[in-house]
């Protein structure tokens, strides 16, 4: 039964397989950042909107036991955690200053923390179709913090806490799982503050902002600022592309009302892309503290990342027949590959086997460009704006009915 339930979710298996493949490639190329990327990806996927859901109304009407749903969801989530981690354990290059054994223990610790997180998410609101979003995001956030501050506690303690905690929560789930999954809590909620709205300035654009920036955006901001602060323009660009793609898809599917309103597309485009570029920029101003680089370099980094991002959007938009949402993943894969290619070539040629924190492309740029030239920054900024306009004209204007468009092209 569990196998039957799991196998119908094959999209998530494709994602896991893709993640493992990407990690294997990154490890083979000798990037240590792959570990960070993998953990980030696992956290983001665990936080995904469909991820915590144990069953749908369709499945709940079928003669399936409640805890079969739970077991299927747990198996799926634990595979998401442990499959990439196994790949990392097998193939990752060593982070600086760690022995093989220490690194392996570290990875197992991370796995244990993530496992505890999975059980925490699933052990809340056990009787219902899905745990509440705030709980899911909260647990993922805390797990992320725990991974960052994992050094504070000894591995043995961490492992013990995680294993005992997971077993206890698993028992809780098995005891409390209902025979029939419920759509709503058993007891009525109190007439809550849904009637009283929080005070916000009375901007007429509030519905537009609410539609484009949901509470999830905090996580996107945090991730982009993080990559900006650590000086990872390519990782940041990939993530920003993925998030923009997701936002555009959501605009087409859930926020169609916005597309039929007299709101300029250019405004929507500016809000979506600009918010992400600004997040990266906000983080990159902290580069002096993390990477001991002057802020000017950080800004150039940011502009180059944005430049790459938009250049590749143009290429992706120009490929005909690829605007169907079904092909979104393929396009992002192509973009990511294109972004990574110069890096891959550089690594293979110049610094194979030697791990350096500054990428060769950046070293080259630092050598060629006069540091601190505000004219240069302005020139790059203008080109960026021009590219943005081109992408907007080509791809963003007609967001609705992409199939119709390709038919009449």
């Amino acid at each position: 039964m569990i196998y039957q339930l799991i196998k119908r979710d094959y999209l998530s298996w494709v994602v896991v397989a893709g993640l493992c493949a990407a990690i294997a490639v990154g490890d083979w190329l000798g990037y240590v950042e792959t570990i960070l990327f993998a953990i980030l990806a696992i956290l983001l996927l665990l936080n995904g909107s469909g991820r915590g859901r144990r069953c749908t109304e369709f499945a709940a009407a079928l003669p399936i036991r409640g805890w079969d749903f739970f077991l299927a969801r747990l198996v799926s989530d634990l595979t998401l955690v442990w499959a990439p981690l196994s790949v990392i354990l097998a193939t990752s290059p060593l982070p600086s200053g760690m022995t093989r054994r220490d690194a392996n223990i570290f990875f197992v610790e991370i796995g244990a923390i993530l496992t505890l997180g999975v059980f925490c998410i699933q052990s809340s609101h056990v009787q219902q179709f899905a745990p509440p979003r705030w709980w899911q995001t909260g647990v993922v956030g805390i797990v992320g913090l725990a991974i960052i501050y994992d050094d504070e506690i000894s591995p043995r303690t961490t492992l013990m806490i995680c294993v005992l905690g997971s077993c206890a929560l698993l028992l809780r789930i098995l005891i409390l799982a209902p025979r029939s999954m419920q759509l709503a809590p058993e007891n009525p909620e109190s007439p809550k503050a849904s009637g009283t709205s929080r005070w916000l300035p009375g901007i007429p654009w509030l519905p537009v902002l609410r539609a484009l920036f949901r509470p999830d955006f905090v996580m996107i901001f945090a991730v982009l600022a993080f990559t900006g602060a650590l000086g990872l323009p390519f990782l940041g660009a990939i993530f920003a592309m993925w998030s923009i793609g997701g936002e555009v898809w959501r605009l087409r599917s859930q926020n169609r009302w916005l597309l039929s309103e007299p709101v300029a597309r250019s405004l929507l485009f500016a809000l979506i892309v600009g918010a992400r570029l600004l997040s990266y920029m906000a983080g990159s101003f902290f580069q002096p503290y993390f990477r001991h680089q002057p802020a000017r370099i950080a800004v150039i980094d940011f502009l180059i990342a944005g430049y790459l991002l938009l250049a590749l959007s143009v290429i992706a938009e120009l490929v005909p027949g690829w605007r169907h949402p079904r092909w979104l993943w393929l396009r992002l894969l192509l973009v990511a590959t294109l972004i990574a290619t110069p890096e891959i070539i550089a690594r293979l040629f110049w610094s194979r086997g030697i791990y350096t924190r500054t990428s060769p492309v950046e070293k080259m740029l630092n050598g060629v460009l006069p540091v601190g030239s505000s004219l240069l920054v302005a020139a790059v900024g203008l080109t960026l704006a021009a590219l943005a306009w081109v992408v907007y004209q080509l791809g963003f204007r007609q967001l609705d009915f992409p199939q119709l468009r390709s038919k009449y092209r």
């Binding site: 119908r8 999209l11 709940a60 009407a61 759509l183 007439p191």
Partner: protein
């Protein structure tokens, strides 16, 4: 007579103090077809979810085939087929996958009915649910619900959003299903013509309770609408006190009153007791019945 489905004083609220269902009691016997009528938000879907075990009643009890759908969920659900308007089939599955999954879950499976439904709606087993139109997706849901020959079919606004031809085809499948012995149907719908065709017993929900519970034919034949000009009778209480009055509302310059009885009898009775002669009585069809009894703002409800 065995009762397949029994609601006894079911109470359910989502927010404390605002009960959606406030003491609903009725039962469905084997072989009956019961249609739930009511305004949007009157609790039809909630009642159906309670029958399917997807919600606990906060008070009262529900029995399906004599057992509670929450306690003995799997046994009960093996004998029920469910189709809902909002029920989203897994989008990336193909029809063949869904059918295989249902075959695995249910013991009996009627191959001829499956082939017939696939032919009638022009479905290919390799198509993904994602690429189907609304009517076709609903037909697939109906196929999955009906082909395992359930004893009870529960339909929650199954025809909503479908074009008239698709609705008719849906009805045809339902009637074929009815022709098997012992089939019981509970459904909710806003399409009064469909309710008349299914010849059901109509249960009208209003204010969390069962307002009316009778067969559709009796609703058509034993009730009528009296239209009384306001100027001839400013006080509606006299109307309310008349025997057989079900509901009164003001509509433009007239009182619209639903009475039990034939139009001639009611007209004669009203003219005699109220002394007015501008009274007009007529039979109503089901849609007008619904609007007269349940329509208007809540404040207009004077009955």
């Amino acid at each position: 007579m065995n009762s397949v489905l029994e609601f006894l004083n079911v109470v359910r609220a989502y927010v404390r103090g605002v009960p959606i269902l406030d003491g609903v009691t009725f039962s469905v016997a084997e072989g009956e077809v019961v249609g739930l009528l009511g305004r949007n938000g009157s609790g039809k879907t909630t009642l159906i979810h309670i029958a399917m075990g997807m919600l606990f009643p906060q008070a009262g009890s529900v029995r399906v085939f004599g057992s509670s759908p929450n306690e003995r969920a799997v046994e009960v659900k093996k004998r029920i087929g469910y189709v809902a308007e909002e029920q989203v089939l897994p989008r990336t599955s193909s029809i063949a996958e869904l059918i295989a999954f249902h075959r695995y879950l249910f013991r009996r499976w009627d191959d001829t009915l499956e082939r017939e439904i696939l032919d009638r709606f022009g479905l290919h087993t390799n198509s993904k649910i994602l690429g189907l139109s609304k009517g076709q997706a609903r037909a697939v849901a109906l196929l999955c619900a009906v082909c395992h020959r359930p004893e009870l079919l529960v339909l929650d606004e199954p025809a909503a959003g479908l074009d008239p031809a698709a609705r008719r085809e849906f009805l045809e499948v339902a009637i074929q299903f009815l022709n098997c012995a012992g089939a019981t149907i509970l459904y909710s719908s806003h399409y009064m013509n469909d309710i008349e065709r299914l010849g059901s017993r109509a249960v009208m929900l209003d204010g969390g309770k069962v307002r009316l519970d009778s067969t559709v034919d009796r609703l058509r034949e034993e009730y009528c609408l009296a239209v009384v000009p306001v100027h001839s009778l400013p006080d509606p209480d006299l109307l309310k006190k008349e025997p057989g009055c079900l509901g009164t509302r003001m509509y433009y310059a007239n009182w619209h009153v639903v009475f039990q009885g034939s139009p001639e009898q009611v007209k004669a009775r009203l003219e005699q007791s109220l002394g007015s002669d501008g009274v007009r009585c007529e039979r109503m069809n089901l849609e007008d019945f619904f609007v007269e009894l349940l329509g208007g703002k809540q404040s207009d409800d004077l009955s």
